[in-house]
Amino acid sequence: MSGLLALEHDVYAEHTLIVLDRTGDTKVEWDNEKAPEVENARRTFNELRGKGYAAYRMKKDGSKGEVIRDFDTHAERLILAPPMVGG
């Protein structure tokens, strides 16, 4: 599959937490109007941060990344990556 085709097939919600894992990734979406969804995303974020995951806030197109330490309900994309291990 070409990259462009792949991009066309991915549809994301307004706010999405993307966790890098053995399946490729797991997405947790939330709507700021729905408190249980926000709480679920926040809980996932905090649990993985507690395990040493690095958290990045991104724009939808993948630009303007920055490291964050606290859950941001207004973020378009959050990416959580497992901790780096030196080889």
Binding site: M1, D10, L20, D21, G24, V67, A81, G87
Partner: protein, 184 residues
């Protein structure tokens, strides 16, 4: 004798089995005639069934495995390989989505892309996960390689994690990574 990649083990990167790190166990073999034995270069043998992995020290003889167990292992192995392919495709889609157009073109064409760290240094991230990050000089020549990646994710997830950390937390990447200078 058919040689296959034991997908259920390669995904369990970082797991230490009998003192042998399975992250490096890509050279183990599956002998179709003798069953579910994965013999490592260390001499240890790993026996796999539906719910357990048993480690056998070198020099111990095994009984012939139960054919039903072999079939079940083969079924599980095929399933894991399917899952691994799917996870690699998901990881590639996400990586491509997070790359700029120029990085995407480089990656599709050459198997690497270049990221600029917070310091302004340029790094080439090649397809892979171990020692696949290269610091470039002004002539785009690699002057050092770095080895640091997250465990338990497909390669292209690892590359995305490397890109994100180099761009947004370069000092932490350099702190963790093992650096090897490349002779001119």
């Amino acid at each position: 004798m058919a040689t296959i990649l034991p997908t259920f083990l390669t995904n369990d990167t970082g797991v230490d089995i009998a003192g042998y790190n399975v992250a490096a166990a890509t050279d183990c073999t599956y002998a179709a005639t003798t069953g579910v034995y994965l013999t490592y270069t260390t001499g240890y043998t790993v026996i796999c069934n539906s719910n357990a992995i048993t480690i056998q020290a070198p020099g111990v003889t095994f009984n012939e495995p139960d054919p039903e167990m072999v079939r079940e292992w083969e079924r599980q192995c095929a399933q894991r390989m399917t899952e691994e392919v799917a996870s690699q495709e998901r990881a590639k889609r996400l990586l491509l989505m997070m790359l700029t157009a120029a990085q995407r073109a480089d990656y599709e064409r050459h198997g690497f892309f270049v990221v600029v760290g917070q310091s302004g240094k340029r790094y080439r991230v090649r397809r892979g996960r171990h020692g696949n990050v290269y610091e470039l000089n002004a002539r785009e020549t690699p002057i050092a390689s770095y080895c640091a990646s997250p465990l338990g994710v497909p390669d292209e997830d690892a590359m995305l994690a490397q890109k994100l950390q180099l761009e947004n937390d370069e000092a932490e990447f350099l702190r963790v990574a093992n650096r090897t200078a490349i002779a001119a």
